[in-house]
Symmetry: C2
Subunit: 838 residues, 2 copies
Amino acid sequence: MTTTTPPQTTDRQTDSFAYRPIEPLDAESLAQLDGWWRAANYLSVGQIYLLDNPLLRRPLTREDIKPRLLGHWGTTPGLNFIYAHLNRVIRERSVSTIFITGPGHGGPGMVANAYLDGTYTELHPRIDRDEEGLRQLFRQFSFPGGIPSHAAPETPGSIHEGGELGYALSHAYGAAFDNPDLLVAAVIGDGEAETGPLATSWHSNKFLDPLSDGVVLPILHLNGYKIANPTVLARIPEEELLQLMRGYGHTPHLVSGGFDGEDPAEVHRRLAETLDTVLNQIAEIKAAAAAGTLDGRPAWPMIILRTPKGWTCPKEIDGHPAEDNWRSHQVPLASARDTPEHLAVLEDWLRSYRPDELFDKSGAPRAVATALAPDGDLRMSANPVANGGILKRDLVLPDFRGFAVDVPAPGATVDEATRVLGQWLAEVVRENPRNFRIFGPDETASNRLGAVLEVTDKQWNAEYLPTDEHLARRGRVVEMLSEHQCQGWLEGYLLTGRHGIFNTYEAFVHIVDSMLNQHAKWLKVSKAIPWRRPIASLNYLLSSHVWRQDHNGLSHQDPGFIDHVVNKKAEVVRVYLPFDTNTLLSAYDHCLRSVDYVNVVVAGKQPTFNWLTMDQAIAHMTRGLGIFDWAGTEVEGTEPDVVLACAGDVPTLEVLAAASILREHIPDLKVRVVNVADLMRLVSEGEHPHGLTDREYDSIFTKDRPVIFAYHGYPWLIHRLTYRRTGHPHLHVRGYKEEGTTTTPFDMVMLNDMDRYHLVIDVLDRVPGLGERYAGFRQRMQDARLEARAYTREHGEDIPAVADWTWTAESELDAREVNVGVGQVNTGTAATGGDNEA
Amino acid sequence: MTTTTPPQTTDRQTDSFAYRPIEPLDAESLAQLDGWWRAANYLSVGQIYLLDNPLLRRPLTREDIKPRLLGHWGTTPGLNFIYAHLNRVIRERSVSTIFITGPGHGGPGMVANAYLDGTYTELHPRIDRDEEGLRQLFRQFSFPGGIPSHAAPETPGSIHEGGELGYALSHAYGAAFDNPDLLVAAVIGDGEAETGPLATSWHSNKFLDPLSDGVVLPILHLNGYKIANPTVLARIPEEELLQLMRGYGHTPHLVSGGFDGEDPAEVHRRLAETLDTVLNQIAEIKAAAAAGTLDGRPAWPMIILRTPKGWTCPKEIDGHPAEDNWRSHQVPLASARDTPEHLAVLEDWLRSYRPDELFDKSGAPRAVATALAPDGDLRMSANPVANGGILKRDLVLPDFRGFAVDVPAPGATVDEATRVLGQWLAEVVRENPRNFRIFGPDETASNRLGAVLEVTDKQWNAEYLPTDEHLARRGRVVEMLSEHQCQGWLEGYLLTGRHGIFNTYEAFVHIVDSMLNQHAKWLKVSKAIPWRRPIASLNYLLSSHVWRQDHNGLSHQDPGFIDHVVNKKAEVVRVYLPFDTNTLLSAYDHCLRSVDYVNVVVAGKQPTFNWLTMDQAIAHMTRGLGIFDWAGTEVEGTEPDVVLACAGDVPTLEVLAAASILREHIPDLKVRVVNVADLMRLVSEGEHPHGLTDREYDSIFTKDRPVIFAYHGYPWLIHRLTYRRTGHPHLHVRGYKEEGTTTTPFDMVMLNDMDRYHLVIDVLDRVPGLGERYAGFRQRMQDARLEARAYTREHGEDIPAVADWTWTAESELDAREVNVGVGQVNTGTAATGGDNEA
């Protein structure tokens, strides 16, 4: 679909964002805001400090205080303030809203709000709405066997792990895509705002479609301090900050207050008026979008809220400022248990919220504390969008078998695996127009998934030029040159019940290592929480790998992402190395059907021999590994002399080429060829759900025969996965090492001793007696390597013996008369626009 | 040093940035700019396409074209344009300038410029200034055995690897720190500008001191397109872009031109005038800083240069736009070798630069092409700042032995290792006031290095408040909540010849995994380039690790950074796990003396027993591992029954506790206790320079006795490092696994089966016959674990048997009367402000 002008999108009306005349905050609303806020603050402080005496029905004693104080007060009152105000507008406007807690370390606040609106008790009946419930609520926080101090899967309403900072806005936009009636309120702390990922995620607004997507309301919360420093954005002139926000494409609204003892009621009034104004602006934008009268990208409103760090805590402690200072970042009265004066200060602090007004005799919160709670699913803690598994619908998946490539014999045809995958994905897009997206850092075309652009566009809401292609206000493909953004958007999309793919270069995916950590942790913990429903897996498609530096001029990094992923909990990670078109189709169909995993699929995009028919591919991918009996020279009923194993597309090619050389030159050698496409099959049964039993493993790899294993990544990973296996001492792995400079594919495999000739030499050296018996042949293999290298140095491309090699031809070292070859691939098209690499 | 108002810094005058009246560009200068630019463009196109016929002395033929075309044309003419203009002002003003090539994939341009100014031939005499030299220059580019397609260590004048994008500005500011007379011209591509790290790095200007630091001139180069998409910043309204830059704190200057066939001479005139204006603004700021009249943070100028992508290439190819389109991103005429029409277009394109005017008969560039080259070291390709090893001066290191803590007996005293390290670092700062910096993401105080703030401040050039502490316009500590920025700044600082530390939480250091890749690659490649001089090592101090979730409420990630680092080339990585104060001091002294490494030091910051005297610590760290004979129960002349090994502070504590239990309860069991502090010692000799010989390894770990190894990180790393060792089948590793929720230290080690009781059980189970003989004792160990866990669930802190355990006391399971204990540490101070965690 080529569009030179953006289409008018007018097929959807929404009335969730209706305009309302703004009235000054009335006394009742003010009382409700104040009541909720005081209650949430009280519950937050209680969680941080109290083991017992939750309602202060008796004077506070040392024994009431937790021995290990842990939690973050500083950001919490601001979060509670915002939460209360959002409740008010949700009640007035019935707008479905979720709350993204950028400062996720404000965990006590989020728990407190979920408790006040009733969700917490519904999901955790043990935490009842009485004094004992409060005691449990307080005690469990940051306590052995309890809940983390940060927002986490355990926190109702959260889709956001409160560990690493930086992804609040990416997650928010991911949640908003294709949720046209949803408001995503995203609080960004001024600490988080300093991170790189957050700093670029403001530009997400250049991708959102005002009509078919929801609304993100960023609330930049300036409380001025991090752990031990002021924050940058709180210390630039206000006009500069406003310009920054306008430069990011927003209409900023500044609310500041609570300083120097200002009555919070004044701040309530100001924020309420601002929020009403902002929601009316949103309503206007939404209405214009619905009417088709929106002129370009709207300058969506955002709020800058400046309040004191640790607001409402003691102004000073031991002569140092506490409120409005970095000292209130975590636990302002750290020695409350051991210092009687501090204990007294803590008691005063707690009583300043007037708990007797907030909770009745039984300990249940009174109406003054809870009146702002919206109804049912409108409660932000109960919104099903924030427990996306509830809303998830399976994808309608077209039969991938229909996209099979013809494989009359192994290696008889050549395809670009990802290009064919793209054709299937195009159908997936067509069948699932509202809940499936493909994210990528400007590499979707380069990764040869271009077929999807025949059925959809790349979503884009910045300026257009007449020469633009495949850009539109709506599209299933979303591309920005930020791996952080792509992964963050996808995470937000998945966590709210949809499906998607992140396609990126393997070579740079380490950029999101820490994001993978956070998401894998979320999945791991969620699996143990009954009310968290399974979400679609996070699917990586990693192309442009290190074995093809010929296409990127040695700029690429390493294949170590797999190592990083394998460190995660076995239940949540899967690694697939399909090696041709049909295996890639089969693998990806599986991935898109799965839930709660991180699926890493590494697949080259260059033309590659097709080795398996679709039936064979399905069988192979179902087993996850298997013997290529068509490639080996085994004799039935006997053990092979040697096993040639491979995992990955380039290793598979080289192993098959080595096998063909051996078949020709040492025909009586019993060679078994094994391919591993599901890496987790190598692990012992007890350590990974996909692990082979030892018996199965031995039946494939033998107990005592040499195994020469050509692997896509760092060789030691294979050792690590197999070190408990009986045959491990006989395993020799060739793989990627950090070596020098080259630019032809065969150069690269030679550099890593993983080329066909070296694999043959490995076999000669590992099978007892063979090296001596075939000393001359061994020398010819050495010579072949030298000749191949000299050729590339002279000609800049692979030697024909390699470039033109095919499986079906009789393998000769100097075979020159074959027609189909991929050893050196695609010179003609490698550098055309759409296939370019960065 | 506490400062509530920033000090006036007036002790340095600089005249490199002098004001000059602006005159219109004269004809001669214009001709020089045009000549340089045409020549650089010609040389760039030649590198991408030509194997031969470098001066087009005969018609271009198929054989003159490389068979594999690789390189990036799109960004190159813009880089060449900027380079030429900077040459002009460098010549006029004699300002020492380096060039940061954000779009590092514009490698052909950077090589071309270095060739024109003569540096290339000086460093690579093979690439002479004649026709054969040109032939070699063209041929080597992206050719097997040649140079990469991107800016790289091989590129003179570069400090910037052109692989992953995002760090141009961080590197630029790192280079500018403490180089008051230096101008760092940093070109930021509009692709790179979309990355997170780049988006936040604009805020670096809130840290730079206008007087004692150099000047960064950001040049945002908008050529409009990435691989296959427009760029965000090129597609927002100009006023919005200007606001963004003002919001980032800059004074933007926009130069746009070259579109729709505009004569480049016009663009030359506009950029020249702008550059003169900008340099005069810089001169004014510098003068005001020198005079002490600068009012707050200056709004440093920056340039937005908007020119067509692929400027000067064919306007259209095959009916598609090429110039000013994403199609010119990489190789616009990809099939020039095989398509005669394309070959003709290429020849026309090359001839459009009029090579006969630019090169003389011999092939040497004529004056018209080179007249703009500055003299000697003022050439940007030759500036020694960009080959920092030349300028590097060894640090003056105070004797760390003077900071030794007293250790009358193993475990008799307790210290926070990083706090003592901070005292030594304070002296390092004092002795090296101009070439040593400590970078951190707001964690320097939290990591207990606060002593450095007694001798220096945290550099800060945003607004101040009276309550601020330790902030000043100048300071050796630089903190921003962005690991990307911290590492990027440090890299820039090291690459320009200085020294430093990056202190951060181990738990989040995965954020910079890919940056580590880039820097390790730089070091690896630089080692093989004779003219690249060694630079100071990149030193990580990783604290706040996963074993102390008690201090961060389970927000922390994993210990896998070590695994990632160990994947890098052995020559450039070192991993140290000091386990107490004296070993940390010894390790860090070594790191600060080393060059060309990435040193990863993991060190807990919580109070820990001191195990070794300084003499013992030095001996141990020099060996890198060793037997704690004071802790074992070996009998001289016999092999031990079991080896208890440890690496890391918490594992060392647990292993020693296990050893004490065994000593008491099974006194006749011959236990050897081994500590590994330099992880690379485990590797085989041939694989890492630090690797033990097999003989040494066997003498420590034995060939056949069970080894129970308690390791700080993921257990399989130890297997991977040792899998070639004879005794490997007898090695049993306990380490970090991805498990559930807890918050006391002992809970955490129990969860991972690495606690003392479980280690004892491991010994009972692994030493033949022992488990049966001590079945009752084994059960008591099991019970002790259950009791310990139940205690934490009830009390929220570790059981006294663990919390109060000491090495010197007789170890009893229920010992309750000891005074010094760190099993549960520091409850009182854990949560005070300065030690807080995020």
